[in-house]
């Protein structure tokens, strides 16, 4: 064995000349070097011999350092429950800083998937959408939209309801998606919708009440066809005191409920 050593003093290896490196070889093959700029290069470093803290270096190129206990920022799969500490009053799950937030429920492939989302089809609505195909990932038509102004849009939610009094100055007891009543004369009212219906094939159901007795019959007659999408109009007709014929009534209470597109 050969040894290069000093005796109680510095040992200097000097590669003389510009840009000359100090090289270390084993069996004629270079294994490490120190460049003229001071950079140490080695074919391998035995990490088991390293101790102490790493300096503030970039780890962008590091590989094989994944932590199986932590999800990556993208692409990971959470296999257990997601628990949010509800002991804090402000515990919440916030989705997205963009304009659409989505939660997808991907079920067994033989059933429909679901998406709960905001502003996906309608710009101001919270929406529930089934996949277009069983197990699919395409979502186009919501079955329920809840708009920011408080309307529920679906085939099973009332698009408009009104309880109004046509007597005196016509007025609302209460209403939903109605902007005004037009009083067109005795027993003739038009309820103007806040937001138009999508078409005129909506279902409108009404109840009318006039007269103080228990032997009065009242109806609120609405057009069979040619309805407007912006309003529903009708006539209040009454047969009072067991009368057998209806006449355009004195003014009274009208309830209207409308379902449709």
């Amino acid at each position: 064995m050969s040894t290069i050593k000093s005796s109680d003093e510095h040992l200097t290896l000097n590669a003389d000349g510009s840009s000359k490196d100090i090289k270390f070889q084993a069996n004629g093959v270079e294994k490490a070097s120190i460049s003229s700029a001071g950079a140490f290069t080695s074919t391998t470093i035995d990490a088991t011999k390293l101790t102490g803290d790493l300096p503030a270096i970039s780890g962008a190129s590091l590989t094989g350092v994944a932590d199986a206990t932590k999800l990556p920022l993208a692409g990971g799969t959470l296999t257990g429950d997601l628990l949010i500490d509800k002991s804090a009053n402000n515990a919440r799950l916030t989705l997205g800083g963009g304009y659409v937030g989505q939660i997808k429920f991907e079920n067994n492939p033989v059933v429909t998937n679901w998406m709960v989302t905001s502003q996906y089809v309608k710009s101001n609505a919270f929406e529930i959408i089934p996949s277009t195909a069983v197990g699919g990932d395409t979502f186009t038509t919501p079955v329920l939209q809840i708009t920011s102004d408080g309307r529920g849009l679906s085939q099973f939610t009332a698009k408009c309801w009104v309880k109004m009094d046509g007597g005196g100055t016509a007025n609302f007891y209460d209403s939903h998606n109605a902007s005004s009543i037009t009083d067109n004369g005795v027993g003739q009212y038009q309820v103007n919708f806040s937001n138009n219906m999508a078409n005129d094939d909506y279902c409108a159901v009404a109840h009318a009440h006039a007269g103080a007795g228990t032997n009065d019959t009242n109806i609120f007659e609405m057009p069979e066809a040619g309805r407007a999408t912006s309003n529903i109009s009708g006539h209040m007709m009454s047969a009072l005191n067991t009368a057998t014929t209806f006449s355009q009534a004195a003014d009274g209470l009208v309830d209207i409920v409308i379902f449709g597109d």
Binding site: D149, G167, G168, T169, A170, N171, F172, D174, S175, H176, A178, S179, S180, I181, T182, D183, N184, G185, V186, N192, S194, N195, N196, M197, A198, T229, S230, N231, D251
Partner: protein, 95 residues
């Protein structure tokens, strides 16, 4: 306050829904003008009134007579037309 206008020879009275009024901003008159623009056919002469019209005697004989404060209903803005479903998103985008 209410709107009154001529509807085929009979005075029509438009009474706003309180919930809808509450969604609007501006003065009471501005809110009524907005409702007129929304619920009356464009170009309809009308007046805003706070008169007591609760006595419905001869209601079908009431006639609208233009006063000094008569206004005319106008088109809603495109944004409002979209908001109230008067036009579709496609029509809005094409405008």
């Amino acid at each position: 306050m209410k709107l009154i206008y001529d509807n085929s020879g009979v005075a029509a009275v438009v009474v706003p829904a309180p919930k809808f009024l509450a969604q609007l901003t501006g003065t009471d008159e501005e809110k009524l003008i907005h409702i007129a623009n929304k619920d009356l056919p464009t170009g309809t002469p009308y007046e805003i009134t706070d008169e007591d019209l609760s006595d419905r005697t001869f209601r079908d004989a009431w006639e609208y007579v233009a006063g000094s404060n008569e206004k005319t209903s106008a088109d809603l803005s495109l944004d409002d037309q979209l908001k109230y479903n008067h036009i579709t998103q496609e029509e809005y985008d094409a405008s």
